[in-house]
């Protein structure tokens, strides 16, 4: 069988044969085909199964509105479910398989559902499957879930790459049919920056599918000529295979370009590009969509939209049938009969629901029935005949149906626009409230005759650019002959006894809408939700209006009174991969690397993600097989001699200005106004609600110059907060902020030998002895021969410690130098784990304690909050519930049995109390193994903790099982008097 239904016609390239497979069968098509046109040319009728009843489904449309012909494209990890054959461009080697059947497409086991259809009426599942209770999850639901869904994901990672981009223009024209081309021509000729996009791979829209002429040439020739003229303009960008899928606030349009979907392989180039289009004007030229008429068994393969039937014949030379009947309520349906007859196709009948005379000359041989009704059709896997209301039976293998055309108003509704009803064309047209900058031209605006479409596009193109101040050219619109466009609304054949489909994919019938009405689901939104109408992959593009008409009939109201459905983006479904673009795997978010990263990598460091940063977690030495060995060693070596840790990730903010001190005094809860030059102070920052926001230090380098550090996690938030205070609360202050986090590589040098080590690199003219540079001193110094540096005598570890900062360009060199210089002291580098162990040993709060829920009082720093000044958070920190006598406080914990391991996240319960929420006294926030103490230690919050030293409570961990006894102790496990850090 080779292209038995192909005729010599259309816009395909018969010289270029393409082989493809459908359900394993190798077939042949031509360049310019869609999968649908190629399947039709090869005589295929049935290509899929419906969602609920598993009824045979054929190709229904010739565009993106397709509800039926959904296939799985490609295979393996490239498998793409629910792909519309009607918009799938044929390529050599294309693989397609049908979906949603068990067994073969032809003999689908699940088709048994159709026999039970009367039990599976709309919403039946809400009324049953409730008994016995356990059966829902164990039996009913698994069966339903297994039957549901359409196509199948491969379960493998999507192997393709995607990209995104930004486009800017004066005028975006959506749709390159006659109105779009006309609009782009007039806007482009005026010199505006124009983008013209169309979802099809060929510009021209319906001109490619019709036999109408423009400017005395065939429509598609005119389209080609217009495209050539446009592509010669520098200011015009033409984008085929690109769908404007959504209209967002302030004129932003989302568009998807399918770059390689028409190729057998994307060769590692982006498969699709998601464009965000910023445009001053959008001219929507999206055309219109034909809709069907509902009648008995109107869902059989071979029953198609009339416009689609002639598109297949005119554009693709593919015959949907050899003996075609037409059922229409409008003049346009007749075009199908005429075009096909001209191509020599037998027209068995034209049934027009309207009374009166045929609007055009009748094709010879066709039976014409004016005022006719089709009540039923026959043919199991494809239509074979139709039955009329008068009992007449007419054989046919393709029935072309036209219920009129609905303007594609989707993008006009993506914001608040509601379409309005126009009785003369029996259709909704764009309403008054259009998205910002949007205009609608052509069929999308309800102008259906080709001549008016051409004029409309031309005029709106001109209007858009003259709005923007461009000078118009004198060119006229292209012209075409007037065609008749009469229509008389007709939605469904009431005489039909058999089920009449509205939503072909989700199997919603006229009866379902009536049942919905009967049960009170009368609002359009109730109707959709109750029956699933319009919820399928086509979003009811062909189904919604006829269904609305049936509901209107039930309620006795007009269609606009009954309602309209709101269209939501996207216009057609968009691959999630495209919406994600490049953001996946390691590229999901940027990575920030510390200045010592390359060096740490050389040392074999294990890294951990902290926000966007990667930090060294620990540095394994040869022979160390467990992370604890490395961490214990790093801690021990640091406390015994000296250790070095990259602390660049802490936020650093340069603060300058005459009011810098006064500003900090308002930002911090403790006093800062009188901090002497050359000193650092620890500060706590509250949110305005009195809860701890952050802690850190600020160093004063001169009267007007401070350098603040924040925690790594809060660096961005604190900066933003300070800018808010500076600009919005105290704009009168002379204070300036700039981040210097990136500017300096900063290392903690900690341990009894820290000074000795630093003295080896600090230039001799800087005295850093304990006397000259005591605890909490800071200064601008030079190292290694005039390299500028900043030195801070601050300690997170509790040891004699410094933080030294050099310009980032020297960071890598400095860490190598310090390690080399420290060799004689057995220096160690340490990572975030050892840092954590040492800060817990010292009782310092960190992220687990500063979790946005704790107060300074909870952290044992309540007295630091000054009551004598105005600062952020001061007033509200005094609220009663934040100052309860039995409030939480941060204390230390040690296991009663030293061999027990503490776990963070355990909850504290008094001995003998039942484990429930009422008896919950707090939780363990941070734990570590202390190599110095030889047992596990923890920090945690417990009610009145500071008054309960020595008490034993239970640390309960029902989540992981078990509980242990712990003793409440001081949080300062090491050197509680602070002698070391002052040494």
């Amino acid at each position: 069988m080779s292209q038995i239904n192909r005729i010599d016609s259309g816009l395909i390239d018969c010289a270029q044969k393409l082989n493809f497979t459908f359900n394993g069968q190798t077939l042949e098509g031509f360049a310019g085909d869609t999968l649908a046109s190629a399947l039709l040319a090869n005589g295929y009728k049935m290509v899929g199964r419906s969602f609920k009843y598993h009824r045979p489904r054929g190709i229904f449309s010739a565009g993106s509105e397709e509800p039926n012909a959904l296939i799985q494209l490609r295979s393996g990890a490239y498998q793409e479910p629910n792909t519309r054959a009607t918009v799938t461009e044929l390529f050599q080697g294309l693989e397609a398989t049908s979906q949603n059947h068990r067994g073969s497409l032809k003999y689908d086991f699940m088709a048994v559902n159709d026999l039970f259809s009367s039990f599976l009426s709309a919403g039946f599942y809400y009324k049953t499957f409730m008994w016995p209770k356990a059966f829902w999850e164990k039996i009913y639901e698994p069966v339903i879930r297994a039957a549901a869904g359409l196509g199948r994901l491969s379960g493998e990672d999507d192997p393709d790459v995607y990209d995104k981009g930004f486009l800017h223009c004066d005028v975006l024209v959506v749709g390159a049919g006659p109105s779009g081309l006309s609009a782009a021509l007039s806007a482009g000729r005026a010199g505006a920056r124009v983008i013209l996009m169309d979802e099809d791979f060929r510009m021209g829209g319906r001109l490619n599918a019709e036999t109408l002429s423009v400017n005395d040439q065939s429509g598609h020739e005119w389209a080609t000529q217009a495209t050539v003229e446009l592509s010669a303009m520098d200011n015009v960008r033409l984008m085929t295979r690109t769908t404007a899928y959504g209209a967002y606030d302030h004129g932003v349009i989302g568009a998807l370009e399918r770059v390689t979907d028409h190729l057998v392989s994307s060769h590692n180039k982006p498969r699709q590009i998601l464009w965000r289009v910023y445009t001053k004007r959008t001219i929507l030229c999206a055309g219109s969509t034909e809709r069907p008429i509902a009648f008995g068994n109107n869902d059989r393969p071979g029953i198609m939209l009339a416009g689609a039937v002639r598109a297949y014949v005119n554009r693709w030379g593919a015959l949907p049938g050899k003996r075609v009947a037409v059922f229409t309520n409008n003049d346009d349906g007749w075009r199908t009969a005429i075009d096909l007859a001209e191509k020599g196709v037998e027209i068995s009948a034209v049934i027009d629901s309207r009374d009166g005379q045929p609007p055009v000359d009748v094709p010879s041989g066709a039976t014409v029935i004016m005022g006719g009704r089709i009540v039923d059709t026959h043919g199991r896997h494809g239509i074979r005949s139709i039955t009329l209301s008068n009992g007449q039976n007419i054989p046919t293998d393709c029935l072309a149906v036209s219920g009129g055309w609905s303007p594609n108003v989707q993008l006009t509704c993506h914001q608040r626009g509601r379409p309005t009803w126009r009785e003369d064309i029996a259709a909704f047209v764009p309403g008054g409230e259009l998205p910002q900058g949007m205009m609608v031209a052509g069929a999308a605006a309800g102008n259906f005759s080709l001549s008016s479409v051409l004029q409309d596009g031309h005029d709106l193109g001109n209007m858009a650019v003259s709005d923007l101040g461009f000078k118009l050219t004198k060119e006229n619109a292209a012209i075409s002959e007037e065609e008749t466009i009469g229509i008389s609304a007709f939605w469904h054949v009431k005489e039909s006894k058999a089920r009449a489909w509205l939503d072909l994919q989700n199997d919603v019938t006229v009866k379902d809408v009536k049942l919905s009405h009967q049960e009170g689901f009368r609002s359009v939104e109730h109707l959709k939700r109750y029956t699933t109408l319009g919820m399928a992959t086509d979003q009811g593009k062909t189904a919604n209006i006829p269904a609305l008409a049936v509901m209107a009939e039930c309620t006795g109201k007009s269609i606009p009174e009954t309602g309209t459905t709101i269209f939501r983006p996207p216009y057609t479904p968009v691959a999630i991969g495209a919406l994600a673009g490049r953001a996946r795997g390691k590229d999901f978010r940027p990575s920030r690397l510390t200045p010592s990263h390359a060096w740490a990598e050389e040392q074999g460091a294990v890294f951990v993600e902290t926000g966007m940063w990667y930090r060294a977690q620990w540095f394994p030495k040869s022979g160390e097989t467990h992370w604890r060995q490395s961490v214990d060693r790093e801690v021990t070596q640091t406390r015994a001699s000296v250790g070095i840790c990259d602390v660049t990730t802490l936020g650093k903010i340069d603060i300058q200005g005459k009011d810098a001190a006064a500003f900090l005094n308002k930002i911090y809860a403790n006093a800062f106004a009188k901090l002497p030059v050359g000193k650092v102070r620890y500060g706590i920052m509250l949110r305005e609600d009195g809860i701890m926001m952050d802690d850190g230090t600020s160093a004063r380098f001169s009267d007007n110059h401070f350098v603040m550090t924040t925690t790594t996690a809060n660096a961005v938030g604190v900066f933003r907060h300070m800018e808010f205070c500076r600009q919005c609360l105290w704009p009168e202050m002379d204070v300036h902020l700039i981040s210097s986090t990136e500017q300096y590589a900063q290392f903690a040098v900690a341990g009894p030998n820290a000074r000795k080590l630093l003295q080896k690199v600090v230039d001799n003219d800087h005295d850093i002895s304990n006397e000259a540079f005591p605890f909490m001193a800071c200064g601008e110094i030079t190292v290694c021969g005039d390299i500028p540096a900043r030195l801070f005598r601050i300690s997170f570890s509790g040891e004699l410690a410094y933080e030294i900062a050099v310009p980032t360009r020297y960071g890598d060199s400095l860490v190598r130098t310090l390690m080399a210089a420290g060799e004689e002291f057995d220096v160690t580098s340490y990572g975030t784990e050892a840092l954590g162990v040492m800060r817990i040993e010292k009782g310092h709060a960190a992220g687990n304690e500063l979790n946005g829920q704790t107060t300074a009082q909870d952290l044992g720093m309540g007295r630091m909050v000054s009551k004598k000044k105005d600062c952020i958070g001061n007033t509200l920190s005094e609220r009663e519930s934040l100052n309860k006598n039995d409030g939480l406080s941060l204390v230390g914990f040690r296991p009663v049995n030293p061999s027990d391991e503490l776990k963070a996240g355990t909850h504290f319960l008094a001995k003998g109390k039942t484990a429930n929420m009422a008896n919950d006294e707090g939780w363990m926030s941070s734990v570590a193994y202390s190599p110095n103490l030889g047992h596990s230690i923890g920090l945690g919050f417990i009610k009145q903790g500071s008054e309960r030293m020595g008490e034993v409570v239970r640390a309960a961990d029902p989540l992981r099982g078990g509980e242990i006894e712990v003793e409440i102790v001081s949080a300062h496990f090491i050197d509680p008097e602070g002698e070391r850090l002052r040494a």
Partner: protein
């Protein structure tokens, strides 16, 4: 009352479905009710249902501006769970969970309560510690929780990105009893149950003013006239500020848009609900096969039921980072709901300073899962004028006292909760 059952469905199928009646009546409003509930969403309908069923108060009207269920009960991602941390929240949500578990038999409507589990992933030790604390809170409150390591997650969801992730999955907190519920059916089921017990459900009835005399709220003005009531129960999350401003009240609430997304129908690939904290993404697969997913709120005050592209892309980025196998699935539809974002991320069920006027709102993006408990506790408050024991903390004055219920620790910044 027309009882639904498999038998009834079969009988109707054989007799042409002629016997089905409207699921709720379309009554004209009476002049006065004992309780008027403003808002025919999930919470309002549940309140009416429990008022009638549990507290015997049936002279009740539910006033709905549009069609019932048109608010957030019909535009959420259908997740139910009780995996909260704080004592003010966890018992309440666990109460709700237990009500979900018996709901369908209770109101004779299949809302497809499906406990396929909810898994919150963590990516580092601090995340594990926070979830351990939370899991223990849940168990102490009588809920269920399981802490999974990476292997445990891999066993349930082999299709996640374990090997090449920017934020590697280290484990997760699983609540096996969490899951999903068919959202619209919840509204319809409660509506049916309330209607059958005599509650008047009045659609297309917009409240335009409060009738307040001498500090006592005596009724509401509507587009269908004044309706008097002994108690007015406002329950209009998303529009709380708008409605309460009619009584002159300012609330600790901002309205924000939360977008939600559904893919085309697919054969089953995800058993339960997964949330990806590092990437603002959560997902489940509906019984119809669509991947239902969402992420953060858009982040600016809005009453428009639609969002913008940056969040759409952010959510899909999270999705692809978590499960790169969904790249070829297509996003079918996106929509937005308007959330009452409160100042600490937790709701309110309380009397107001105006006698006869009650308020239920501030549900943030978590109102759906709370529907049964919210209805029950609100009904309790209305019937007995004291808070239900499970909802004692949801008071309007808690910020004055400093008794915030701030699960995320974000402070008075509603768009961060």
């Amino acid at each position: 009352m027309l009882k639904y059952s498999g038998f009834k469905v079969i009988k109707e199928a054989l007799t042409g479905h002629k016997g089905w009646k409207p699921v709720w009546r379309t009554p004209k409003p009476k002049e006065e009710y004992d309780v008027v509930i403003v808002g025919g969403g999930g919470h309002g309908l549940a309140t009416a249902y429990y008022l009638a069923k549990e507290f015997g108060i049936t002279n009740v009207a539910v006033l709905e501006k549009g069609w019932i269920g048109s608010g957030n009960v019909g535009r959420n991602t259908t997740i139910v769970r009780s995996n909260y941390l704080l004592p003010g929240n966890e018992p309440f949500y666990e109460f709700s969970m237990k009500l979900w578990e018996n709901l369908e038999q209770d109101f004779n409507y299949n809302a497809m309560v499906s406990q396929r589990g909810i898994l919150n992933l963590f990516h580092n030790d601090a995340g594990r510690d926070a979830y351990a604390r939370r899991g223990n809170s849940m168990i102490l409150a009588g809920a269920d929780a399981v802490l999974l390591d990476q292997d445990g997650v891999r066993e349930m969801y082999p299709c996640l990105d374990f090997d090449n992730a920017r934020f590697p999955i280290k484990g997760g907190l699983l609540q096996p009893r969490g899951g999903t519920v068919r959202h619209d059916a919840v509204a319809w089921g409660y509506a049916r149950g309330a209607d059958n017990r005599g509650v008047d459900i009045i659609q297309n009835c917009e409240v335009t003013g409060m009738v307040i005399e001498n500090g006592i709220c005596r009724g509401v003005e509507t587009n269908q006239g004044i309706i008097k009531a002994k108690k007015i129960a406002v329950c209009v999350a998303g529009s709380s500020s708008r409605v309460m401003s009619m009584a002159g009240m300012r609330l600790p609430i901002e309205s924000h848009v939360l977008q939600a997304f559904v893919s085309e129908g697919l054969k089953p690939i995800l058993p339960g609900v997964v949330t990806f904290g590092a990437g603002h993404f959560y997902v489940s697969q509906s019984d119809k096969g669509g991947l239902v997913f969402g992420g953060d709120i858009d982040g600016y005050n809005s009453y428009a039921q639609r969002g913008n592209l940056p969040v759409v892309e952010d959510v899909c980025e999270g999705g692809m980072a978590l499960m790169p196998m969904i790249g070829r699935a297509r996003l079918l539809r996106m929509w937005g709901g308007v959330m009452d974002m409160s100042m600490d991320g937790s709701p309110f069920i309380d009397k107001t300073h105006i006698d006869g006027l009650y308020f239920n709102g501030g549900w943030c993006y978590g109102g759906f899962k709370a529907t049964p408990a919210s209805g029950w506790c609100y009904a309790h408050l209305l019937a007995k004028d004291e808070p239900h024991p499970m909802a004692t903390e949801y008071r309007l004055d808690r910020f004055k006292r400093g008794a915030m219920i701030d699960e995320k620790g974000m402070g008075a910044q509603p768009n961060l909760h």
